[in-house]
Symmetry: C2
Subunit: 193 residues, 2 copies
Amino acid sequence: MSDSYHHGNLRQALIDAGVKIINESGEGGLSLRKAAALCEVSHAAPYAHFKDKDELIEAIKASVTEQFMQKLQCAVNGAPDAESALISMGNGYVAFFLHKPDYFKFLFGNQNITAHLSTDKEYEEDYPPFKLLKDTYLRFTAEKKIKKSKTEQEMDLLKLWSSAHGLAAIACMSQVKMSFDLEKALEGGILLK
Amino acid sequence: MSDSYHHGNLRQALIDAGVKIINESGEGGLSLRKAAALCEVSHAAPYAHFKDKDELIEAIKASVTEQFMQKLQCAVNGAPDAESALISMGNGYVAFFLHKPDYFKFLFGNQNITAHLSTDKEYEEDYPPFKLLKDTYLRFTAEKKIKKSKTEQEMDLLKLWSSAHGLAAIACMSQVKMSFDLEKALEGGILLK
DNA sequence: AAAAATATCTTGACAGTGTAAAGATTGGTT
DNA sequence: AACCAATCTTTACACTGTCAAGATATTTTT
């Protein structure tokens, strides 16, 4: 808390600095030393809180993923039933990155994410957005009393996830010219017919 | 051709060295100096052929994209009609990266690709794989005598592309556990029902 | 409350990186 | 034969991640 030697909460400050740098100059502009400088701290100070540059990047990703999850959770919570929750979650998935393309590149640029398509096991270690998708999907099949084999369920999940993710990828990573407004098209149901 | 000072074909040798490095250690292991060392040339020699590291990377991407296009073109050429060409192109799209996940990360990790969804304009500058998709799709609508509005066509293209791309992304960038064989599922028609 | 242990931060150093400038070597052109 | 442009080397610099050693503050122990 004292202003001189100890920062007080350098760990979180470094994460916030990282998010700021990514918003301003993308992942390419992110360096340990710049983040440290933003926190007015020496270039080696981060090593008291992170083993690696990678470990800082992981923490920044977790922070951005929290924002992402908030948006997805909102979309799910605002839906009257599981079916429309699935749809508005997909729309929220794409819309989030449509407004923050740099976040997409940062999160998925070279990162590995853990996901278990299987629906009959523990999957607490799943990538949180995927876990939410799985839960919502299972709620959907329950509400609609849909009976599907395990493999069919897994394929449904894979299709749901990859269609939303693919649309976000194309929209964020490519210079796509189109005559329609993608955000409006989402509401119109381009994702899930 | 002489062994001493001039390399002979350093430009292509650097590109090949880059591809090799990416296959062995991913994009993270790629540096100008390592590529130069592989060609047994000084660390500044690449600057006679490439303005930037980025320019070398672009050239490497073009080389990998050629391989990719070859696979897609094969898939299209081997199909009896445009409809099955569309399907087998999508399968080839995913299968290519399923065998070379590092290529996916390298090509789409942080890169921008140009694509014009509009079907009634010149689009020679489009990303070649997308151009092939667009051509095949137009051939398909012609064969089936399908009449669609411009917007509908663009949305079809976007859906086709993003579903294949999304599936490849999920398969390559994530540690997904599934109980079925994705490659078999592709042949079974998971992509285009 | 004093002392010891720990967490946090600074300084200095090193190898690896991209890139620029200046000079050496070569092949092709006139 | 003389010149020119292309190609390559050498040298240098700023920036990066990381480590080691030491300084300072906080917490724990006695």
